[in-house]
Symmetry: C2
Subunit: 144 residues, 2 copies
DNA sequence: AAAATAAAAGATATTTTTGTCTTTTATTAA
DNA sequence: TTAATAAAAGACAAAAATATCTTTTATTTT
């Protein structure tokens, strides 16, 4: 559904949101370990998300990544759009050049409803709202 | 959602289902044109689907691709599984190594429901049931 | 001010996906 | 039975996604 890049992006942001809740900054190595992902690769991803204002960072000793309050209000949809673009929001499920109500593909009508739910889920899920569940180990960002 | 390969596969099969309803066989060039896809690439895809018994073909003059009755009963889910594997059926939406009810990722519970609907859609959609709508131009397999 | 730290930036490498071309094999029609 | 046809098979190419490494810049601590 999402690109690998996007999966890492979401998991990294949620990890940072959790770990930086108290004001701490969190380094790239910890992030990579915390979400079981290739360090240099998520570094690139976060660098890009930083430019788009979806994550904060600071260089130098005691530096690292963190989220300010406005970032915590962003939704997963914002991250997905920033990384994977509009495709899953407005694209055709069978890959036609555009999704169209008047010239629908065979799965259009059903897919439209599914897409609607998916989008609703992504827009309702705010980055800042997962910390408590992460803390209590009710949800997880990696397997091992 | 699906790989490009899978999108072409579904569109090609539905095109063949439609065009071969009357017993005709349909050549790869017509298929490629009919679904606006790269000819050699769909040829490879169909070759693979043929090995898996999801499409019939015949070599030589007046040969081409077609579907027998049992193939028309296959669902889109069968095609997706044959091409993209189990990932969208049982994988984790955030890319964790396995989806797990007891160690869920942050989107697990909502995603589970969405996935359920998606799977239901793919399993209910039988290859043979789209011909009439295609014939009447109520649904489409390409844009231009 | 100097040394240490950590992200940013940029270059490079690998793998996977997507796409193309050529040769071979099977089949049919003339 | 020969020539033409069309898919199968295999080799090759290009592009995109994923991953890694090195150098630079900013910042902090000593
Ligand atoms: S036209 Fe394919 S999903 Fe709308
Ligand atoms: S654990 Fe991620 S979708 Fe189930």
């Amino acid at each position: 559904m999402f690109s690998k890049t996007c999966e890492y992006a979401i998991r990294a942001i949620l990890f940072i949101a959790h770990k930086s809740e108290n004001g701490d900054k969190i380094g790239i190595k910890d992030i990579a370990k915390g979400i079981d992902s290739p360090e240099y690769f998520v570094a690139k991803i976060l660098q890009n998300l930083g430019k788009q204002g979806l994550v904060q960072s600071q260089k130098g000793p005691s530096g690292g990544f963190y989220l300010d309050d406005s970032c915590r209000k962003h939704s997963l949809a914002d991250i997905v759009k920033a990384v994977d673009g509009q495709k899953i929001f407005s694209g055709c499920g069978l890959g036609l050049k555009q999704c169209s109500e008047t010239r629908p593909c065979p799965i259009h009508h059903e897919y439209k409803e599914i897409k609607k739910r998916l989008i609703a889920m992504l827009e309702n899920a705010k980055v800042g709202t997962f910390s408590e569940e992460l803390e209590k180990n009710l949800i997880f960002l990696k397997r091992k």
